[in-house]
């Protein structure tokens, strides 16, 4: 991970604070207005001050509204208008596939009237909370589950399940790369990644910044349900890769694609299979046995196949 490339998204002061820190495997950088700057590694959490890691809240650096203004200008490459749609979803993916999540004052339109559920989110203003999730490319991390994903000639429909932060996307990316580059086992292969949040391939200006293999096409920033249909019609994929299934449209598209001769490798949030069964659309996909294998990530490098 090139920390310099990440630091350029932060304000001058925060860049200096993080630049003084020597921590490997940073997974998240948390910035909250008026609150201490925090770095997470997945296993540990560190408070950061102007001279590096500190032990007390009083010594840590607290972000200001000016820091946020500067960060937003840098993250949006001076083009906030271009990220309007992403802002509605509460995140922006920057070069390298790193996802920046926002919290602040959510703006809704009045079309929903008094009905809170029907209100549509049109943007976020007064951003005061940022979670900078650092994408990692761990080549070979999917080796342990390769046997559950495919046999000698067939690629299964696979669902990878884990709570946030345990590496679903990293595993999904490595599986994609392995299958795509395996000319011996799969001589006639084409993979299509429906990368709605630009996290799998980390596309910047349409070009993947992560290695997703030589026979992989990427539909970057495309909604999953529409992307799967588009890919089926136009890219004739043998395998489709989708991250973070959840909505009705996503599940319907997966069901359709799986019954169209295309293997699906997808991921979803959840602690275990029982939790997934409680979700209305995802539960139906599992009970309909659309997925031949379900792999639950129990911890870093710990997998359970069902």
């Amino acid at each position: 991970m090139d920390i310099e490339k990440i630091l350029r998204y932060f304000s001058g002061t925060i860049s200096k604070c993080i630049g003084n820190v020597k921590i490997d495997n940073i997974s998240e950088i948390r910035v909250r207005v008026g609150q201490p700057l925090i770095i997470n590694t997945g296993r540990e959490m560190f408070l950061i001050g102007t001279n590096g890691i500190v032990n007390s809240v009083g010594e840590s650096y607290c972000a200001t509204t000016n820091d946020f203004r500067e960060i937003m200008e840098r993250i949006c490459s001076h083009s906030r208008y271009a990220y309007e749609e992403n802002m509605k979803n509460g995140y922006i993916t920057v070069e390298g596939g790193h996802r920046v999540g926002f919290g602040g004052c959510v703006i809704t339109d009045s079309q929903g009237g008094g009905n809170e559920i029907a209100k549509k989110i049109v943007g976020i203003k007064n951003i005061a909370f940022i979670n900078f999730r650092i994408a990692r490319e761990i080549s070979g991390c999917a080796k342990a589950i390769e046997k559950y994903v495919c046999n000698a000639e067939h690629i299964y429909n696979v669902l990878i399940v884990s709570p946030p932060g345990l590496g679903k996307t990293t595993v999904l990316r490595d599986i994609t790369r392995c299958i795509s580059n395996d000319l011996e086992r799969f001589p006639n292969m084409s993979i299509c990644v429906i990368d709605e949040r630009s996290e799998i391939a980390g596309c910047y200006m349409g070009i993947p910044s992560m290695d997703v293999g030589m026979r992989t096409d990427v539909l970057d920033g495309c909604p999953k349900s529409q992307g799967m249909m588009m890919a089926l019609r136009t890219m004739s994929p043998k395998v489709m890769i989708v991250d973070e299934l959840g909505g009705k449209g996503d599940c319907e598209a997966v069901s359709y694609a799986a019954q169209s001769g295309c293997s699906i490798i997808a991921s979803a949030h959840g602690e275990n299979i029982d939790e997934l069964m409680c979700k209305p659309y995802l539960g139906k996909l599992i009970s309909d046995k659309i997925f031949e294998k379900t792999i639950v990530i129990k911890g870093l490098g710990k997998y359970q196949c069902i």
Binding site: E73, R74, S77, H78, S79, R80, Y81, A82, E84, M205
Partner: protein, 173 residues
Amino acid sequence: MYLKIIGMICIIAGTTSLGIKLSQGYKERLKLLIEYKRILNMLDSEIQFNNSLLGESMLNISKNTTGVLGDLLMETGNTLMNDNCISFNKLWSELVDKYLSDSSLVGDDLKNIKELGSDMGSMNKNMQRKFIILNIEKLEMRIQDARGKFMANGKLCKTLGVLMGIMICIMLA
């Protein structure tokens, strides 16, 4: 005698070219402002239809823009694409000074062009387009002023240049 005639021709040619140069200044100013208006319209289209980043838009427009404005957009676009740490307002202001301060544009024109940097890139799409349209409207007033001055003074400068030369020649003769 021949020397006198050659001298008179030189004086008239000199004052005439001075008049033409002054007239060209008015014409050049009008041309630059109209070109800048075209750039703003293209920027609006880039935002509306391509959803391009500001740096990307500047580079795209620079390909279809010649002269000093093309160079200005090219350097702005390249800097924005390679260095996201710089403030657009500061960069735009510096580059406008670098490329346009020696041009025929007057102080108010430069102020108008620099105004683009103040809020560009910090608004949502709808507001951003309104901001560009507001800039175009303000620019339209500058264009009217430049056109008026060109019509009134452009021809006058050329005529005065010739007449001044003739007058000097008569006085010397």
